[in-house]
């Protein structure tokens, strides 16, 4: 996978990253929204994004800034109007088996038990029943739901459903995990608890993650690098490495470095929105 890059040096950080496995590379990506009968409106313009293997990158920005569009383009759900995206050096042409995706709604199938929902991706891949249940059980335990394997969606709380969705995303063991505000629909306490657990899991597995959120505290808590988007049409206006050492927690007190970074990102975000 360590092929020579043809394009380097487009952004300052790429030199430092040269040699490291570049998991995701988006170059000059732009996207227009086309409604019938209307001129196409640009949603995302001229965006370069490079994510190293094992890096956790958070994308923040105002609503409608195209950060979800970029995520969906990486996932192969959307074909961007301009630019190109490669994933592990292969161009993205559609949905890929080695990419996991999680969003704010759980999308659990109410007729399946929690464990069968977690095993669904493996089932689609033709993994044998006993093996996929065993693997699903492992990931269900990882998100703290070993006692709820046979519960159906209707019998699970909002937080539990999102845990099952997380386990389902992890169960196919994707090389890249794309997350679109995965904890946005949860209440404040549940959110912090799940963030803590997710941090623990991620610090153990270190998969490449691109995480879309509008919550700066969440971005700084979880990510290695925070990328700030402007308002529509979205483009990258800031990039902030998060040097807070791991293991981190979401529930602990924030130190001065955290607060400083949070303020800096917030200032950048406000400028991008055109606020004084």
């Amino acid at each position: 996978m360590e092929t020579t890059r043809e394009r380097t040096g487009a952004t300052g950080s790429s030199d430092a990253l040269a040699g490291a496995g570049m998991m995701i590379e988006a170059l000059g990506v732009g996207h227009d929204y086309r409604a019938p009968g209307l001129a196409p409106t640009p949603a995302l313009i001229d965006t370069d994004l490079r994510v190293r293997e094992g890096e956790f990158v958070a994308l923040v920005g105002p609503s409608g800034c195209g950060k979800t569009t970029l995520l969906n383009a990486i996932a192969g759900l959307v074909m961007p109007s301009r630019g190109r995206i490669t994933l592990a050096a292969a161009p993205v042409t559609g949905i890929r088996a080695d990419v996991g995706y999680m969003f704010a709604r759980d999308g659990l199938m109410p007729w399946r038990s929690a464990i069968d929902n977690v095993a669904f991706g493996l089932e689609l891949r033709g993994v044998a029943a006993t093996e996929r249940r065993e693997r699903a059980r492992k990931y269900l335990a990882l998100v703290g739901l070993e006692g709820f394997a046979e519960h159906r969606r209707g019998e699970l709380s909002q937080g539990m459903r999102q845990r099952v969705a997380l386990a389902r995303t992890l169960a196919t063991e994707p090389a890249v995990i794309l997350m679109d505000e995965p904890f946005a629909a949860l209440d404040a306490q549940t959110k912090v608890i799940i963030q803590d657990e997710f941090l623990k899991i991620w610090e153990q597995f270190r998969r490449t993650v691109v995480f879309v959120t509008h919550d700066i505290v969440e971005a700084v808590t979880l990510a290695d690098r925070v990328i700030v988007f402007s308002g529509r049409p979205g483009r990258i206006i800031g990039e902030f490495p998060v040097d807070i050492p791991r293991p981190r927690t979401a529930s602990g007190a924030h130190d001065a470095a955290f607060e400083h970074l949070r303020t800096e990102i917030w200032t950048c975000l406000r400028q991008g929105m055109g606020a004084p």
Partner: protein
């Protein structure tokens, strides 16, 4: 049994006793003419009489046969067509105007035509019942397949589901509760089509009995036949529900109440 269930049951029994009692009393006290209005006791007597008639069983089996054949043909075609149209939007767009036109036609109006074409035997009734059932089931299945939660479909696609897998593992099970609700309705429409067909032209069946008793002013026998029809459709509706539970493994309850949140336990 829960206390509230007992109360409901008691009220239901009370309503039946009051209504039937008032009817019987109105006849006995001379407020109503039994020739036109009959009475519960006369209907019960007529029921026992009808059941003992030599051709009774043949009437019931004829109706049941026509109804079930019409239902299965109509439902089979309807479910299959509904899913095909849902999977192929282009075909759906092509046939939509024809579908709307046929659907707006009161299809029992086709009954005389089918009797002309197919004669007074069972096949005219089977076809009438099937045409009534098929459009209801197509519309219902199409709606069921289209209302499948978009998030579930997105998740399945992102997990790598191919088109066939999307249909078999997401669309079909997700649509099943609504499809079954349509099938329960279909049974009732199959009965409507069969009975109407038999009333227009037949020499067997409960519908034939209805028109015979009406034509000969035997109101008690007519009403007794209606009681039999209610019993038959209730039994068929119950059979459909039973089949649904068998096939979906009680899944309908879980699917029907996605919003019931359990209390937040130890795990948020």
């Amino acid at each position: 049994m829960k206390r509230s269930n007992l109360i409901v049951l008691a009220w239901q029994a009370a309503i039946a006793v009051v209504v039937l009692g008032a009817w019987e009393a109105a006849i006995r006290l001379g407020y109503l003419n039994p020739f036109w209005a009959s009475s519960p006791s006369r209907i019960a007597g007529a029921l026992l009489e009808i059941v003992r008639e030599p051709l009774f069983l043949s009437h019931v089996t004829t109706t049941l046969y026509e109804l079930l054949a019409g239902f299965f043909i109509g439902a089979g075609l309807g479910v299959a067509t509904g899913f095909v149209l849902a999977e192929c939007p282009l075909i759906e767009r092509v046939v939509a105007p024809y579908f709307t036109a046929l659907n707006s036609l009161p299809r029992v109006a086709l009954a005389p035509l089918f009797i002309l074409w197919l004669g007074i035997g069972p096949w005219s009734k089977i076809v009438i019942a099937a045409t009534l059932v098929v459009f209801i089931i197509i519309g219902n299945t199409l709606a069921a397949a289209r209302n499948v939660d978009a998030d579930m479909l997105t998740v399945a696609r992102l997990l790598g589901a191919r088109r066939g897998q999307l249909f078999l593992k997401v669309v079909l099970p997700a649509a099943a509760p609504v499809v079954f609700a349509g099938l329960r309705l279909g049974v009732i429409y199959a009965m409507l089509g069969t009975v109407v067909g038999e009333m227009i032209a037949a020499n067997r069946g409960l519908g034939y009995m209805l028109s015979f008793y009406a034509g000969s002013f035997q109101v008690s026998q007519l009403m007794a036949t209606l009681v039999l029809l209610v019993a038959l459709s209730t039994a068929l509706s119950g059979a459909t529900s039973w089949l649904e539970r068998r096939l979906t493994g009680g899944r309908r309850r879980a699917a029907a109440s996605p919003k019931t949140n359990p209390p937040e336990g130890a795990k948020p």
